[in-house]
């Protein structure tokens, strides 16, 4: 009985308590309801009765006056130059624009390396990249930008690659000018235990291109954050991203992973010491080891042994391949190798590095490729990444690959991106916008000198919701003198001009004889221009100002085509404006015996080249051909009078990562040479050997083989179908 009473009483009390509690809540809500009805709780900023009587925040006249004309601009410039130096540097105050306004434009000079100078592998690569870039000059007088010959990559005094006395040496340089217009590359700064941003010498007014830059020390719009890369990072070519397919659902075996060192003491240890908390051994694998450095056992804590054991259970590469997200926590410094590794592995980086100015943050929109976490919120990371939807994972992952291939896969790209960012600042009114930097194919392949207008490029049609123009310009490459009216070129002119999409014809005159008089050419329904190619083969891809249409139809003088074939190919090109679409297919292959690339013109089941003797492509490729490719390759083309078409195919495939498009059945696009006095250069066996060599030379410049094979061609829908010919739009294509 007693016990029961006790329980009853206790129960009653609890009930009372609960009731009161809820009643309280209820009352609270009631109160809320009443106040809602009465006025301002839902909309707590009142709708003042005298709203209309409120004063303007500023007098209109004052606003238009804009604070008055202010001080003299010239004076201001001088004052600025005096105040805003060193850590306050900006392009306006610390950069000499006048140096870049010369005839030669943006030129970069590299100081010669002194004899016996120790230069690290990575710095040697950087210098090579600059020297091989199209901006290099050996004449310091025409240079706009200077790169030191002294290795400044590793400024850790304890490192073996540390170069002493930099300060004295650079001050001895006559061109140093307190660092104006200099770029200083650096990967490591500061040393144990604090790893400060100090480089150990006075940078002055030089632009810092530095890894692990801290937002606080970063001079916005002036310094450039670069990624940390290892000494094995390739000079050019570079591995492609690891993503080969978009699996659905996109989640991989592990959700999140980390495998790396744990610092027991010192800077960066806070973050890394906490990482084990999120490890669950199932979908989140966060492994740390204490075993690094000489005296780790001295600082060893209770977790170490267990952690070290767990650490050995997983393989880093396997995790990298099989994880959706990869943690990229700060190390001693803000940036780590993990960043590029996970970017390449299409493992979406989850950054835990507060204050890190992300690589090339000026131009890259990182929030579309990585998850920017906060060191303070480590424990939220699992729920954050779990909440990322499949669509977003798919998008983030593809973007990691896009960025990796556009800006990070080689030292060349990292250095060029740095230079291009500076160049964009110097010529700010002829620079890339953010879309150009962040959409395929990436900023390095978009040359703003060509145009700053997005619609002028072959890459952004879908982005802008527009389609390529309805007209094309035909460019006919003529090498033989005009002697008779029955020459193939005359027939070709007729055929081309009959196409309703043709807006003009340009004849590129590359013959030994001067171009014939205007009257020699037949009358045309479209404008006909004859330009002098100065007998250079590469001139066929010069960005002629006369070409105003998006599409270019490139033709050889002896090309044989039907008007309908031209029309059909043009239709196809409009569906694939970033590729080459045309008739004569060729192929490349790897010859394991010669250990070299081979080239074949035989009929095969696949092709990777479409010759530009009869092909459509976007006019922007003319500009890329003439300005993006190095002069050495164009010189090769001019010297051999050959391979221009192969080079164009290399270029376009390198930009798109896709094969060209073979249109319809025609493969033989020229008349077979008549037996007597065949002069066609391509009938010459030497011509063919040359082309083999070309393929290998080009591949070595690109650093990889950009050509891609394709197994299909595009025919008209009713091609050779057993349908009445009257129903066929392109019936004459079948007779070819």
């Amino acid at each position: 009985m007693q016990a029961r009473k006790k329980y009853v009483l206790l129960g009653l009390c609890t009930c009372c308590w609960l009731l009161l509690y809820y009643w309280g809540g209820l009352q609270d809500r009631l109160l809320g309801l009443i106040t809602h009805r009465r006025g301002e709780v839902a909309r707590p900023w009142p709708d003042w009765l005298d709203r209309v009587l409120l004063p303007d925040y500023a007098d209109q006249a004052e606003l238009q006056h804009g604070g008055g004309p202010g001080e003299s601009p010239r004076q201001r410039q001088q004052t600025w130059a005096g105040i805003y130096k060193d850590s306050h540097c900006r392009m306006d105050t610390c950069f000499d624009f006048a140096r870049c306004q010369g005839q030669s434009g943006f030129r970069v000079y590299v100081y010669p390396t002194e004899k016996g100078e120790q230069v690290s592998e990575s710095y040697r690569k950087i210098l090579t990249s600059v020297a091989e870039s199209r901006y290099y000059t050996s004449d310091p007088r025409e240079a706009c930008l200077f790169v030191l010959g002294i290795d400044t990559l590793d400024r850790d005094q304890l490192s073996s690659q540390f170069v002493p006395n930099v300060d004295e040496r650079i001050r001895g340089y006559p061109l140093w000018n307190d660092g104006r217009n200099h770029v200083i590359f650096n990967l490591y700064s500061g040393t144990w235990p604090n790893y400060t941003e100090d480089l150990g010498f006075n940078v002055g007014q030089a632009i810092l291109a530095k890894a692990s830059l801290n937002t606080e020390h970063f001079r916005p719009g002036f310094d450039i954050s670069i990624p940390l890369f290892s000494k094995d990072h390739p000079q050019k070519g570079g591995e492609r991203g690891w993503l080969v397919r978009n699996t659905v659902p996109p989640q991989r075996k592990y959700l999140l992973m980390f495998k790396g060192k744990r610092y027991l003491t010192g800077i960066g240890s806070d973050t890394r010491n906490a990482l084990h908390h999120i490890h669950n051994g199932k979908d989140i694998v966060s492994l740390t080891t204490c075993r690094h450095g000489k005296d780790w056992e001295k600082h060893k804590d209770a977790r170490c042994d267990h952690d070290n054991q767990e650490y050995e259970r997983f393989d880093y590469q396997e995790l990298l391949h099989n994880s959706t997200f990869c943690l990229v926590p700060r190390g001693r410094r803000l940036g780590s190798f993990r960043f590029l590794e996970s970017l390449q592995a299409a493992c979406i980086p989850v950054l835990l590095s507060n204050g890190w100015e992300l690589p090339f943050s000026d131009v890259i929109q990182w929030n579309q490729a990585v998850i920017e976490g906060d060191e303070r919120l480590l424990l939220q990371v699992p729920s954050t990444v779990r909440a990322v939807g499949s669509d977003r994972v798919l998008a983030l992952r593809q973007r990691t690959q896009m960025l990796w291939e556009a800006y990070f896969s080689t030292v060349d790209k990292i250095v060029l991106t740095t230079l291009e960012i500076i160049k964009d600042r110097v010529y700010s009114h002829v620079s890339r916008n953010k879309l150009m930097w962040n959409a395929l194919p990436g900023g390095l392949l978009v040359l703003p000198e060509y145009s700053t207008h997005l619609a002028h490029y072959p890459f952004y049609y879908l982005n802008l919701g527009i389609s390529p123009g309805q007209e094309f310009t035909a460019v006919i490459h003529a090498t033989s003198p005009l002697v008779s009216q029955s020459q193939p070129i005359m027939k070709l002119l007729q055929v081309v001009s009959k196409s309703k999409y043709c807006s003009q014809i340009i004849i590129l005159w590359n013959s030994e004889k001067p171009p014939p008089h205007r009257s020699k050419w037949p009358p045309m329904p479209v404008p006909l221009t004859v330009t002098d190619g100065r007998r250079k083969t590469s001139s066929r891809f010069l960005p002629h100002a006369a070409i105003e249409t998006d599409a270019v139809l490139s033709l050889d003088e002896d090309t044989v085509l039907l008007t309908n074939e031209i029309n059909f190919a043009f239709h196809v090109w409009r569906s694939f404006p970033e590729r080459i679409a045309g008739y004569p297919p060729r192929s490349h292959f790897w010859d394991p015996v010669k250990r070299a690339w081979g080239y074949t013109s035989k009929w095969t089941n696949e092709y990777s080249i479409v010759l530009t003797g009869a092909a459509f492509y976007h006019r922007y490729y003319h500009h890329l051909f003439s300005h993006y490719l190095p002069p050495s390759l164009r010189a090769l083309v001019d010297r051999t009078l050959n391979c221009d078409d192969i080079l164009m195919n290399f270029l376009v495939s390198a930009v798109t990562h896709l094969p060209p498009i073979k249109v319809a059945q025609r493969k033989q696009y020229k008349e077979m040479p008549a037996l007597q006095g065949s002069k066609a250069p391509w009938a010459n066996p030497e011509h063919f050997t040359q082309r083999q060599e070309c393929v290998n030379t080009f591949a070595s410049w690109f650093g990889y083989m950009p050509l891609v094979h394709s197994q299909f061609r595009l025919d008209p829908v009713l091609f050779k179908d057993h349908v009445s010919v009257f129903r066929k739009k392109y019936k004459d294509l079948e007779r070819v």
Partner: protein, 719 residues
Amino acid sequence: MCTSGKYSSRGPALIPRMKTKHRIYYITLFSVVLLGLIATGMFQFWPHSIESSAEWSLDRRSVHDAPLVRIPVSSPIPERGDLSCRMHTCFDVYRCGYNPKNKIKVYIYPLQRFVDDVGVPISSTGLSREYNDLLSAISDSDFYTDDVSRACLFIPSIDVLNQNSLRIRETAQALAMLPRWDKGMNHLLFNMLPGGPPDYNTALDVPRDRALLAGGGFSTWTYRQGYDVSIPVYSPLSAEVDLPERQPGPRRYFILSTQTAIHREYRVELERLKEENGEAVLLLDKCTNLSQGLASIRKRCYKSQVYDYPQILQESSFCVVLRGARLGQATLSDVLQAGCVPVIMADSYILPFSEVLDWKRASVVIPEEKLPEMYTILKSIPHRQVEEMQRQARWFWEAYFSSMKAIGMTTLQIINDRIYPYAARTYEEWNNPPIVKWSSVNSPLFLPLIPPRLPGFTAVVLTYDRIESLFRVITEISKVPSLAKLLVVWNNQNKSPPEESLWPKVAVPLKVVRTKENKLSNRFFPFDEIETEAVLAIDDDIIMLTSDELQFGYEVWREFPDRLVGYPGRLHLWDHEMGKWKYESEWTNEVSMVLTGAAFYHKYFNYLYTYKMPGDIKNWVDAHMNCEDIAMNFLVANITGKAPIKVTPRKKFKCPECTAIDGLSLDQTHMVERSECINKFASVFGTMPLKVVEHRADPVLYKDDFPEKLKSFPNIGSL
């Protein structure tokens, strides 16, 4: 305790003693409970009574009724803003926390009128109309919370939009008196006119500890990147004058300057430009001969000629926005509103919302030094680009400049994007005007990939009860080298699939999925059993496709993993007489759809079809038992902006004698329904996404005079 235990074990004899003991026990218990209750009550009502009184005070309707707060002379002054502040050092993220909506909570302090020791207000204007609009817009938005304890961002009701009307020291003291100030952590101040004569600082001079500043007219030296927000200088003129949007295109003038306070040195340069280029350049100034008055701010003059401002801005392609003593100019807002492309010459100026807006697409930024070259620089911009910039400029104004609400919301969204970067708005969302957003395409499979041939594809066969034909299809498909798995979707609920032993023997795994309802959509369900990227959707009566044709189709799909790659091609046409879309199944020269009776596509589209199909299309398809293939074509074309690929000449699929129009599709009413589908879907999508092309994919050596043995795909049927 020990003794009591003993007693109780002895039994009833000791009850009376026990009772007293129990009484004490109960009394203590009761008092504890009572105390608890009182404490709970206090806890429940106490804070609320305080808050509600604050709320009640808001109910007064006039600004002048706001409570007066006197600032003691000795009240502490905050420190000057710390230039090294960044989100990770000066902002308390813990207040924002993780939340599934990824939205920050913003609290607005109730209005108070601060006065100094002797009763003089800290600001000559008090609350301005603009700041009031801003605060009421925020309190109406999703960001707002009235719960201080849950807020992530605090906005003082002290109006600091215009520094000129402020008493700096007292304003700072007032800020520090705010109950949650806490060194300015997570506080946001809005300021449009910073600095004062003569040297005009580019950021608000009021000491403000760690508070974030949304400021108009930041220079690169005062702007804390990633912490502060650069905002425009609002132009009240935009609310007064309605400038209708003008079609982009060439305008009467090429360059126009309407600013009244341009430094002499620059005016000389501008006049030189005018001399060189004549009519194309129009250089306006204040009207000196007009009778002074309010109207003068709406007039501009060139010599004796009078122009209306801001209307005149619409007459020029480019409008000059030069810095004055201040970097931020209200003119910028007027210029954008007029759809004139601003030519901004203000070195070191951080453009409004530059963190998210791509100003290169809406303006021309020229270093002040290059003012003399302005004409040449502007002339080098292609016409079409100028038009696009005009449109972009107007859109920026509409979306981000037009009202205090727009400015406030944009600022909060930018801060929100920093705190929840994984839910941040994209470049396209910020920068594409609605018309471009509408027509532009951002394919979810945008990376150019040619997936490896392995692990092949999964064939998904939809069947009801045509077992014989189904088995034939399975046998045929199983010969395709790249087939990885067969999935039979058994759509008949009344009948069980045949026993395992009766099925044809195939080398790859064969799995039968029984569905709960006979729906066409079942064929597009993203079954877990589909482990490959590539799916071959095939009907159970498509028996004529050869193994070569199928393998070739797969190879083509690998080159177009983001498209439908299929065999039966169809077309949509505009019927001029009826004024609507029509479905065409005749053999035509064009293709805009491939039917999923035999087509390869990416598994991702299964997921899209099942979960992301717009409107009621999915239900419509299931109800009508028709058009699932058309719906799929719409879906893919809409999201990728690309046409499907018809592969090989094959047009007959069921038997050599059959006509092109087969099976289900024979029925006339069926065809009418399919036309209806196209019209229905086009209206749901709000556009016609299908793209028409004139090509199909054939093997490179198709119909070539070449030894058949050496062809990769010799067995390609001709019909």
